[in-house]
């Protein structure tokens, strides 16, 4: 599966609340309509990113997927800046 994105943010190894805190910082650097790909190893980030887009008015979750590399799950979130 391939989702288009404009920038990658590597949040692997980070724990709650850092993937979210840093992703929000990164999304602020994007232009409207651009998509940030966030890679995280924190399992909680899957539900966290869903919660984020539910509350925030400037982001949209385009897609979420799980990749497995070296037996380790990487949770990938595609977040679009909408405002």
């Amino acid at each position: 599966m391939s989702t288009a994105f404009d920038k990658v943010f590597d949040a692997r190894g980070m724990n709650c609340p850092m993937p979210l805190v840093n992703a929000r910082k990164e999304i602020g650097k994007l232009d409207l309509g651009q998509v940030l790909k966030v890679m995280a190893t924190d399992r909680g980030s899957v539900a966290d990113f869903q919660g984020w887009v539910k509350v925030a008015k400037n982001v949209e979750l385009v897609a979420q997927e799980t990749e497995t590399t070296d037996g380790r799950n990487v949770y990938v979130h595609y977040v679009k800046r909408t405002a």
Binding site: N15, C16, P17, L20, R24, W52, V55, V59
Partner: protein, 191 residues
Amino acid sequence: MEVAIEAKPATESLTSELAARVAELEKRLAALEERTEDRVTIVVFSGDLDRVLAAFIIATGAVAMGQQASMFFTFWGLNVVKKETSFDGKTVFQKMMAMMSPRSSQALPVSKMNYFGVGAKMLRAMMKERNVTSLEDLIGLAREMGIRMIACEMSRDVMGIKESELMPGLECGGVATFLGDALTSRASLFI
């Protein structure tokens, strides 16, 4: 014919009545919206490392989600925002209190299994092992994010903690400072 003549004024008055009611509702809706802010307000009463960590994670998480956050530090929570401890100009009781209180966030105990600070050291080591952000980093992050941090004036005065012992840039305030934010917030917590 007669019916049509009668019906026209009736519709007109109904329309104008509806318009008036919609305008009234819009006004009330605007007033309600003005009264709520996208904000989370937290009272940090506890000075326990584990509880305080939860408070800072919620506050920084809220800001990350596009909300604003206020943290009101009172009683044992004041130890979290202390940068140092001094004994100058304190009463005997206040000196005793200062001696028995953690000197800064670095020295906070845990709420369970503290064992004279060994538990707190162990928790910090375990957090580091799992790459969880430390309390001090979270405090720094909170300040960087512009989280409103208020030190309770009354408990600060009772405990004899001087403003110079607290981190710079804290606001001071009382119950109305907290309620002013809490009553217009979407969520309020007491930790």
